[in-house]
């Protein structure tokens, strides 16, 4: 197993054992900032070398996936999960949107195995973050007037993760690999270390969801484990159809299989306050995130490999 995963386990165990271990919130913010910029920069540098005309139709396809995923999740939650409209819409937004931390672990997984991935994946990460949140709000609210869309769109598009990812992509694109070289020690060489510390804090946060998990019980656990697999399989199929490499297909599956725990909770809390925030957060952070980094990512890699071997 990738050693960074053990830091998540350490955080989880320390949190469950009620250790006083705790990273200051400012450090957590710095670590997530570093991760977001690194992913953006890396994508920007690679993207500058690739053919924009080939990437555009793929980008449109990925954007469409972002709108469709929550529409698939929502009716299942309503019919089988018997969730209320607001809760189902909120969960659909969380699971349609993406998790940067899961993506970072996926990148680390591929690097460990020496598998390369397509340069446009960080761009896809940006494209997948927003649509599901908009769809989730519409599912809960309809097109009713009175919704403060201006304020909401500001919240969604100028959220920290979008600004840093797009900023990183732009800077990487403009500077190119030569220009970025002096920044490499901080952003690229330290990537694994930063990710390890970040996962330590994620473990602590996931442990804090354990109490809620005990109260909500089986439905949340089942959904958190069962939802990512078909979602990731759909992403893998899409990646394969788009002609992505094995690494790229794996990462697109990781993206569609992951659930947001930063952008979506913040937006849904403002837009759909009657939805229970701990329900979606516990499912995405307490169940799906650990599931993905332990079992999901290797499994999605296996799916991607199988698709490419079988489909050629």
């Amino acid at each position: 197993m990738d050693p960074v995963i053990w830091f998540f386990v350490l955080g989880l165990v320390a949190g469950l054992a009620k250790s006083d271990l705790r990273l200051p919130p400012a450090i957590y913010d710095l670590l997530s900032t570093l991760l977001l910029i690194t992913i953006g920069l890396k994508g920007g540098v690679e993207l500058a070398r690739s053919d924009v005309a080939a990437v555009l139709p793929q980008a449109a396809g990925v954007l469409a996936i972002g709108f469709v995923l929550p529409l698939l999740v929502f009716p299942v939650l309503r019919a089988i999960g018997r969730f209320g409209r607001a809760d189902a819409a909120s969960l659909a937004a969380h699971y349609g949107s993406v998790s940067v931390a899961t993506f970072a672990v996926g990148v680390s997984f591929l690097v460990e195995r020496g598998v390369s991935y397509d340069s446009q994946l960080p761009l896809f990460l940006v494209l997948l973050e927003v649509p599901a949140i908009v769809v989730g709000i519409l599912l809960a609210r309809g097109l009713r007037s009175g919704q403060r869309w201006g304020k909401l769109l500001h919240e969604i598009f100028l959220g920290k993760s979008i600004v840093l990812l797009v900023g990183g992509l732009g800077i990487g694109w403009a500077a190119g690999s030569e220009g970025i070289a002096p920044l490499e020690p901080l952003f690229f060489d330290l990537f694994k270390g930063v990710l390890a510390l970040f996962l330590l804090e994620m473990g602590l946060i996931a442990a804090s969801q354990a109490q809620v998990l005990r109260d909500k019980g089986l439905a949340v656990v089942l959904f958190g484990i069962l939802a990512p697999v078909p979602l990731a399989a759909a992403g893998a199929a899409a990646g394969w159809l788009m002609g992505l490499s094995v690494g790229g297909t794996t990462l697109l599956a990781v993206l569609t299989g992951s659930a947001s725990y930063i952008a979506a909770p913040a937006a849904m809390r403002i837009a759909v306050p009657e939805a229970n925030p701990s329900l979606s957060l516990t499912a995405s952070l307490g169940v799906t995130f650990p599931f993905n980094i332990f079992a999901g990512i290797p499994f999605y890699y296996w799916i991607a490999t199988a698709l490419h071997q079988w489909g050629g």
């Binding site: 919130p25 957590y28 804090s208 930063i262 913040a266 403002i270 306050p273 009657e274």
Partner: protein, 100 residues
């Protein structure tokens, strides 16, 4: 002698509401406010400020009685049902009544 008694309203609520809450306070006639990060426990569980989704803020406003009533009504109508929020008020004396 000018009237130097005012109301102090203290609101403890989810950090995510900070921006819109402060905008509303100014619109309702408060001349200023103070925000601090907070943590604690209540019927919405432990709010420990460990990371952004579980952090609280404590907003304090010193204002005249009629402004206080407007603020209380606004918060009760818009936030009490769906958000973790408590509010309490008390009487205070201020040294410079023209400021509040």
């Amino acid at each position: 002698m000018p009237d130097d008694s005012r109301r102090l309203i203290t609101i403890v609520t989810e950090a995510i509401l900070e921006v819109e809450l402060c905008e509303a306070l100014e619109k309702l006639g408060a001349t200023g406010y103070t925000v601090t990060n907070a943590r604690g426990s209540g019927n919405r569980g432990i709010r420990d400020a460990g990371w952004s989704s579980s952090s609280n803020v404590r907003v304090e406003v010193v204002c005249k009685e009629e402004v206080a009533q407007r603020i209380i009504t606004h918060l009760r109508d818009n936030y009490y049902n769906d958000y973790a929020m408590i509010l309490f008020e008390s009487d205070v004396r201020v040294l410079r009544p023209d400021k509040f």
